[in-house]
Point group: D2
Chain length 405, copies 4
């Protein structure tokens, strides 16, 4: 790579909420390894041959930073994942260690407004900032984001939520419009926004695209959708579709199209990473299970008996293992079965999609788009702004979007 190219290259800031987690550290390692030509872009949708003509941001143009309430940084988290989950290559880790350390200097202590018990149990940074009102939290977050942008002369800054899953948040009147939300932000209580939405507000309000990789609320509140449109900022979410649900989203249409009646669909998920640990809390788990379960009825056109579980099994670390048992009825009442087991490493499935979504958010911003990027439905379990859950049809939406120039 010559100096000339580097100078012309756009600089993209990727700000990760949950910067010390597995997804963030894998994204960091992956970007460093891609920029150094040490790994192919396997797992990245934007690297598919059919999308080759697009001017997506190059890995070498990325600068990383983020918030976290836990100690650690990109490098220590990547090493921990390597040791526990037996992923990554020692040589890649060594070659990229410098980049990860450099980016780690951009990590800032998280801002906590209304902390959740299961998540707070993980907090071990002593400098986590406690805000008295949502507004105070927003101000602190925006100061960090703006400082990052200025310091690194960024052309784009995309904020990504990769933090632990929150419990469900009940939407009330305050969240129905931006107008009603604004005064509520000044009140210490009741909480006008869950933590994930505080960060989303901060990002959108400051003009930075926001992508929500988790089932937490994030930008999916009427007031925040208002805000995004008013500020002219694109956003997307919610809950990355990387494993069992991804497989569901191609199998369910199969049964529907062949008129095979799904009698019951049982999905048991086990995993041992921090995500799993937080999901062990029933409140936090509720958001996730809901997101994993809802699509079946929409894809099938009726509601079969379903059962979805997610359980923390420590020895599995980042290896999410799922068993699905699909019981279906065919012609003349015959009952048949399809079972599958999925053994995937969650962080490694999510990280390339993080890069994809940052690239696609930056592209949307350059195209002058604002509001929900509904063409990104194929990436999410609960796609904001789209009712389509069939992965094949969702992917066509992406292809059609990219075909338009």
């Amino acid at each position: 790579m010559t100096d000339t190219v580097v100078m012309a290259q756009r600089r993209v800031g990727l700000w990760i909420i949950g910067a010390c987690g597995g997804v963030a550290s894998t994204t960091a390692l992956g970007l460093a390894a891609l920029a150094r030509g040490l790994t192919p872009p396997t797992g990245m949708v934007t690297a598919l041959p059919q999308f080759a003509g697009h001017d997506f941001d190059e890995p070498a143009g990325f600068v990383l930073g983020g918030h976290d309430i836990r100690k650690g940084n990109f490098l220590t988290a990547a090493r921990e994942l390597h040791d526990r989950s037996n992923v990554f290559d020692e040589r890649t880790l060594t070659a990229c260690a410098g980049d990860l350390e450099t980016w780690s200097a951009n990590i800032r202590p998280g801002v906590v407004y209304k902390p959740n018990a299961a998540i707070t149990a993980l907090a071990d940074r002593t400098d986590v900032r406690q805000a008295r009102t949502p507004r105070e939290a927003v101000d602190a977050i925006q100061a960090d984001l703006k400082a990052f942008k200025t310091a690194h002369k960024l052309d784009h800054l995309v904020v990504v939520n990769a933090a632990s899953t929150e419990p469900p948040f009940e939407v009330g009147d305050d969240q129905q419009s931006l107008e009603r939300l604004l005064p509520a932000l000044e009140r210490p209580a009741p909480a006008a926004l869950p933590t994930s939405s505080v960060y989303a507000f901060a990002a959108l309000d400051a003009g930075f695209p926001y992508v929500n990789m988790t089932p937490s609320r994030g930008a999916t509140l009427p007031a925040l959708e208002d805000l995004a449109r008013k500020r002219g900022v694109p956003h997307a979410g919610q809950d990355l579709k990387t494993g069992e649900t991804l497989v569901k989203s191609v199998l369910a249409p199969l049964f529907a199209r062949r008129n095979l009646r799904v009698l019951s669909w049982v999905g048991h998920n086990i995993l041992g990473n921090r995500d799993g640990q937080v999901l062990n809390d029933p409140d936090n788990k509720a958001s996730k299970v809901k997101s994993k379960d809802a699509l079946l009825a929409e894809l099938l056109g009726y509601k079969p008996q379903t059962l979805v579980s997610i359980e923390f099994i420590e020895s599995l670390d980042d290896w999410k293992t799922a068993w699905d048992h699909i019981h279906f009825e065919g012609f003349l009442g015959a009952k048949m079965m399809l079972q599958f087991t999925w053994q995937g490493c969650d962080s490694l499935l999510a990280a390339p999609l993080v890069i994809d979504l940052v690239r696609l958010a930056a592209l949307a911003q350059r195209r002058g788009e604002s509001g929900v990027m509904s063409h990104l439905a194929s990436f999410f379990k609960s796609p904001v702004g789209a009712t389509e859950h069939d992965f094949g049809k969702q992917f066509l939406m992406l292809e059609e979007y990219l075909a338009k120039r």
Copy 2:
């Protein structure tokens, strides 16, 4: 059902080659049960709500007949399947026994020209007719078809190949055009056509739509495609996609779209019905394995290591059980796995599609179409006239076809 309706109803003849097999007997039982309102149309694509407005032929309008080289009839075969594979309901069998017996009177002894060893081993009818030339065989078959049509005053007659799988047939010069084929039909040897194509020729030449449910050659020879166009007859094939391959055709696009690199795809199939018995012969098996294996490279855009086996395990009877192990590489070289097991009853998966294909062939004929019905690609492992193997996209082709009126 009133007399008035019956009189107005179109009468559709369904002539099944392999009339004493599991697929044929299940189709017969299913049509009888549907006509009597004893079973819902589960498993039938043409019964999907989105296709409700089409004037598909009613089950009550069907009349069945067929050829076979084995003893037995629709009723004895259905009872055997019930006893061995534990399918069907005793009450349905009893209620429909009369219909199956009536239709069984339409079964005629098969016409053998160049018999295949593994298939002939199954022949136990003493009145099987041995033809000296392909032409002699064609004449005998056409006589049966025409007699059936006349006797039952049929509006349509659709010929369906549901016989055991033949070994691969090497195409030579004789099969390149109708012009070159015609004189070759008069020669006793070398065989101008494999048995399945002799039946296909007979059907198309007499103006009857032909659908090939098996991996045998059937109408997929240039000379027969010529014939179909010249006679203005629609046809379709080849090799019904009902189980493991069907699942492959939605999973492979998933890996492709997510840029996850499939390293190897192993599929082991075990089954215990007559189909399995014939496939135990290496020659006959070759046709099947080829049909099951080819689509992966086309769907993925590259050729991973693949392994497909089909083995005869007697105790499974009609319950085709498959285990697929898909080994794939994700981001940063991580190797992951998806495994599935399919436990489906082959005859009950195939029969509703037989009814669908007869309905769709009759519709095409009413629409004045001739030649390959490439819009039926979603039904087949090796769709004639289509290169698309993605089930989702194939299904769109069907939806678009039916949307045109």
Copy 3:
């Protein structure tokens, strides 16, 4: 069978608590079919060639009766199981219908003392007898048992608990000895015994061997063990080992002997019969999960992380399906996996063991044994009177017992 033989044959009464359930009706159908020579004794341990020399009671000598709080009888329950779970042969059902009807006349309404909500929800007999004290319940039960014995001139009467699983019962002082229990039986409250133990008390006190197929308390209370020894009656339990746990009890010793360290063992069970319905109640489920989970630590010598679930999935009916994921560590820290799926029909796995246990209880009684039959450990998930959980070693105990004459 000649009259002479029949006259010499011992008559064995089998009294089933839960007489209208799947296990009871399958046992009834099986005994009738065996007596008529319509089925081989597959699944019966006492029919193994190595035990051929023993004078076990012949199927033709069995007379059935029982208690239930639900309507129905042996025949209607067998037909329901046939229809829902697709088991049994129509011909066998027809041939044995008369026997089942005859035995059904021996079914008496259940006696309820302290009903459990989940179980009572199933009660639909209007003549269920409500007792005010445990003693009153015992008296009513014993009257039924004695009447049955007299009416049928039985040589043996064995009482078998095949009723739905109760919630766990906390043992207090009253249950510590027979002496302390006797006065407590006269009190309406607090409940001195759970329902299953009321029946066990009635049986043992009247001199009838008692076998507990379920995880409910039954005879496993110090006071009832006292009673059994004092009355000189043999008994056995608890919780038949028929599926996932049976497989566990041979796999766990494998890991132990090869010094492979089990890191986690996850077992998810799904089933759709009445048993599953009752287990859907968290209280009742607790008894079952405990029984399924405890053996691992004893077999391995340490406690890996375990997870056991049992969930009601209606479409599965009697087909208990289980997925177990065993994560283990080998040499040099390598993590490996064994997964299994079990698809078994619960009633058909249990019924032959019911016949075995009745035969073995009758044998013990003829041998003059009393108290816990610890040599029957191989039959149970929580074997009373034995700490051995290794199925191989448990089976040796049975072989050694039978070798002694």
Copy 4:
């Protein structure tokens, strides 16, 4: 470890035929790591608590050497396995590299007498020695073994066959007794012994215990059994039981004891290491499949339909993956299923057993035993000198042997 202890410690030579393979290199790494206290003895049977009182040889007392026809050494092979199969820890590899290099100096070029095509294809050492007669090969091998023993002042020298699987060898008259074999060794052709037996002869004849980890002939010829007894040397084999067959050897007794009739047992194995590559040759595969398949009939007492396959799937490297489908009949003819998938790393399962077998062979030698060590049956798929295939019973044989002192 102090000098004093080291001087008192017995020195055990472990000579591995196939020294550059995965099993050999894992054994070397494991021994080095154990001696350095870097890894627990997980996977080693001789390290079980119940055998703690035995004077087994300490890892620190082992010295390694061996023959191979391929280039490479313990260290390069261990690194290759690390890279390809994602096993071992970088720190362990680094810490033990010196030990592996030291031992690698003891590796000698293989001696080839009658090479097998599939195995020779792997040979890339230029200094492989070609013998003209079996005797010449024996002499060359013995010279290496004796030189190794002298150079390292070994108390024991145990020869272990971990080379690729040979095709089956037809036994004739020459192999029936030592007397008949001796003159035949001098003849260039026909081959008196397969290669594995040439090495076995060399070891036993020189007084060194021999253990055969593979399905190749090795010492299982009457003439070699004669030799072992005459020279007073213990030996054992054949074909380590580490994965699918190990699981079979506990599941089959389960079905037998519960009188559940196995209808069919299908086992498909896929693997990608050199073992798999050699097994891709049908001749070599035949030995393996026979060894994996035979035990079922002996364990069940009848022969169900069985199917065993082993196929080379390169991407799996050392991860042997197996799917077994067991179809069985229970009471009243109900057909049920048990399926399992095994995902194990072959070299890491085998290596600890190599150390066990060397320890047990050295112990036998100290106890003055000679001939077949039939008490080691639990280690092997085709245990020499034992007909018992039930793993539980085989293990009791080992426990009883070790209880005798």
